[in-house]
């Protein structure tokens, strides 16, 4: 496969495959879980499942507890990573154009310099999180191959994107194709790994909020 064929493939069929797998996988994953069902509580509720459920979907983005040092490392690096990754993904002009081609609409982009900063922050945060995962006893115990695989799949688009913006040696065409491919691999991996938390987090938060909400507590 030539460079051009590679690029054309990732821009076309590759993206179709990735999106198809992502959509099929996530819809499937959510239903597979949801349809197991749950018992509606017969206890007289003190609060609303819905308002508390929706409230927790948002509130749980912030922590209420005091953590230990190891918790704060996760928290701070986690925040930086998520914000940096999302800003980079959604607000680089080139990415907005990709979304426009997928969704039919776009939105204003942020200056490339800012995105370079967020990309660097994202990369740095991911490296810190990897180092922490390898050294923190709790995380090391909890981790399996998936944690490292998903780390790599998340790191890959960030680093190729960074190289792409900053043109370090590698031919642009190959790098662009590799970058797009890295995003597609990430999309494909989402439904099969813990990365599906990008969707299921909100479902889990809803359940958490609803379970507490019935008792009148905003969790």
């Amino acid at each position: 496969m030539t460079e051009t064929e590679f690029l054309n493939w990732v821009r076309g069929p590759g993206m179709q495959i990735a999106l198809a797998v992502f959509i099929v996988g996530m819809v499937y994953r959510v239903l597979e879980n949801y349809l197991i069902g749950r018992k509606q509580s017969l206890a007289e509720p003190r609060g609303s499942e819905w308002t508390h459920g929706v409230g927790t979907m948002w509130r749980r983005s912030f922590t209420r507890a005091k953590l230990t040092t190891r918790g704060y490392v996760t928290l701070v690096a986690g925040y930086i990573f998520h914000i940096a990754f999302l800003v980079t993904l959604f607000f680089l002009a080139q990415h907005v154009e990709m979304f426009r081609s997928l969704l039919g609409f776009g939105w204003p982009a942020l200056p490339p310099l800012l995105i370079t900063i967020t990309a660097v922050l994202g990369i740095a945060a991911l490296l810190a999180l990897l180092a922490h995962r390898l050294t923190d006893p709790v995380k090391r115990m909890l981790s399996d191959y998936q944690d490292y695989l998903t780390w790599f799949l998340t790191f890959f688009p960030l680093i190729t994107g960074f190289l792409l913006i900053n043109r370090v040696g590698i031919p642009y065409k190959t790098l662009l194709a590799t970058h797009i491919l890295s995003f597609e691999l990430l999309l494909i991996a989402i439904p099969f790994t813990k990365l599906s938390h990008i969707i299921t987090t909100f479902i889990s938060r809803w359940y958490n909020g609803a379970i507490a909400g019935v008792k009148g507590v905003q969790s």
């Binding site: 597979e32 879980n33 509580s41 507890a65 230990t68 190891r70 995380k139 889990s204 507590v217």
Partner: protein, 435 residues
């Protein structure tokens, strides 16, 4: 039919529901839940990480409820849950988890880990892996009626003492009363002053209430050990008594898990909504306060703080009432740094206090509470759960703080300050604290 690994796994298959599937799916192995758990923070041992305590059930979920897990199971690639694992996990699930619910409040992806542990215990007990102490307590609850083996005569003796002390009648089995008051066995055996306290308060507030000889025990070891079947039996006794006495309300006493068992799990355990309402004693007292039916005299002259019982506050939703009530009688009421729905557990909830094997780790975990209290300068530690109260007293004693800090039940403290109308005996009645 005896307990077995197979029965345990089947129980998990029956217990796993959509929320649990979603929780397991969402976990990103960030380990933040560890920081919310006093068994981890006080030992630093990673095995106490809350989500890790669910590993066997997670594998059952994966093998039974996910496409890939099923496929792997069919092809023989998956690792079945073994007896050895359950043996290894038993102390994690029972000795080092109080179902306090703090991890459920911090999980960034929103996993209600406590909800999962509760179900984890269902499978553990069905597989035959539960601590001896908790099994014995459950046995006494079912066979005798109380985890501490308290029988009716013991209650009757305490009633007699309370009547003598207050000069009031303690109603027993009074049909048609509005409220059926329950007690925990710890209250009957150790903190019986609560009986006098509520008798006086209800008398002042003109609350129509009664105790029931067939259902005086509020605690529910069945829920703690994780058996819904046994928990249902225990709840059923209360439901039967309440229906027989035709009460409108059942009062859950100052006992954490009793409230969860009766108020939130109960209707689901017995399979129908109650014809009566369940109200916590703190809720009732706060209502009486709001209605002006509960009046107090004077204030505590020392600094007091409140220890939130997990099952009443964080997992029960009664956050403001204890504070409203404390403010009636304490001028110097200060909050611990993390309080309310983020309070730290006493270390003995969720059946841990009934499990002697857990004593060492429970006592170690109390360091968390000790640190919380350090430098606060409180003379009284008020709480609203007799189990917490026991744990706090014991922990303070272990740390030689019992001289400085007295542990008090909230209802009792209110009763001490009860403003008495002219018809009753004059002078402040000070109930004698029993050690």
């Amino acid at each position: 039919m005896s307990t077995s690994l197979e029965r345990g796994i089947r129980t998990w298959v029956a217990q796993i529901d959509a929320p649990i599937a979603s929780f397991f799916t969402s976990c990103v192995h960030c380990g933040i839940c560890a920081d919310a758990c006093l068994f981890f923070t006080e030992t630093g041992d990673p095995k106490y990480t809350p989500i890790h305590k669910l590993e066997p059930m997670r594998r059952v979920w994966q093998q039974e409820y996910t496409f890939w897990g099923r496929l792997a199971k069919r092809l023989g690639f998956s690792k079945p849950v073994t007896e050895d694992e359950l043996k290894e996990w038993e102390p994690l699930v029972y000795d080092s988890c109080t179902l306090c619910g703090r991890c459920s409040m911090v999980c960034p992806v929103g996993n209600d880990i406590t909800y999962m542990i509760r179900k984890m215990r269902e499978g553990m007990v069905a597989a035959g892996y539960a601590p001896e102490g908790l099994k014995a307590a459950t046995s006494r609850s079912i066979r005798i009626g109380s985890p501490m083996g308290v029988r009716l005569p013991a209650l009757q003796a305490q009633i007699k003492a309370a009547e003598a002390e207050t000069g009031l009648t303690v109603p027993l089995d009074q049909e048609g009363a509005d409220y059926l008051m329950l007690l925990s066995s710890a209250e009957i055996m150790q903190f019986s002053e609560i009986i006098s306290a509520v008798t006086r308060i209800f008398d002042e507030a003109k609350v129509s209430w009664t105790l029931a000889s067939k259902a005086f025990e509020a605690t529910n070891s069945g829920m703690q050990i994780g058996s819904s079947d046994l928990a249902a039996q225990l709840v059923q006794r209360i439901v039967d008594a309440a229906e027989a006495l035709k009460v409108k309300y059942v009062i859950s006493p100052e006992c954490g898990h009793a409230y969860t068992a009766l108020r939130w799990e109960g209707p689901n355990l017995v399979g129908r909504a109650y014809p009566f309402k369940v109200i916590h004693i703190l809720e009732l007292l706060d209502e009486l306060r709001a209605e002006g039916r509960l009046k107090t005299d004077g204030f505590e002259d020392q600094r007091v703080t409140f220890h939130d019982p997990c099952q009443i506050v964080r997992r029960g939703g009664i956050v403001e009432p204890p504070r409203n009530l404390l403010n009636m009688v304490a001028k110097d009421f200060v909050e611990m740094e993390e309080h309310g729905i983020m309070n730290w557990c006493c270390g003995g909830g969720g059946g841990v206090s009934a499990n002697e094997r857990a004593d060492p780790i429970r006592r170690k975990a109390f360091d968390r509470k000790k640190h919380q209290l350090e430098g606060m300068g409180v003379a009284k530690l008020v709480t609203a759960c007799s189990n917490c109260r026991n744990m706090l007293e014991e922990g303070l004693e272990d740390n030689h703080l019992d001289e400085d800090i007295e542990v008090v039940g909230l209802a009792e403290m209110l009763a001490e300050h009860l403003a008495v109308s002219n018809r009753a005996d004059t002078g402040e009645s000070t109930s004698t604290a029993k050690e």
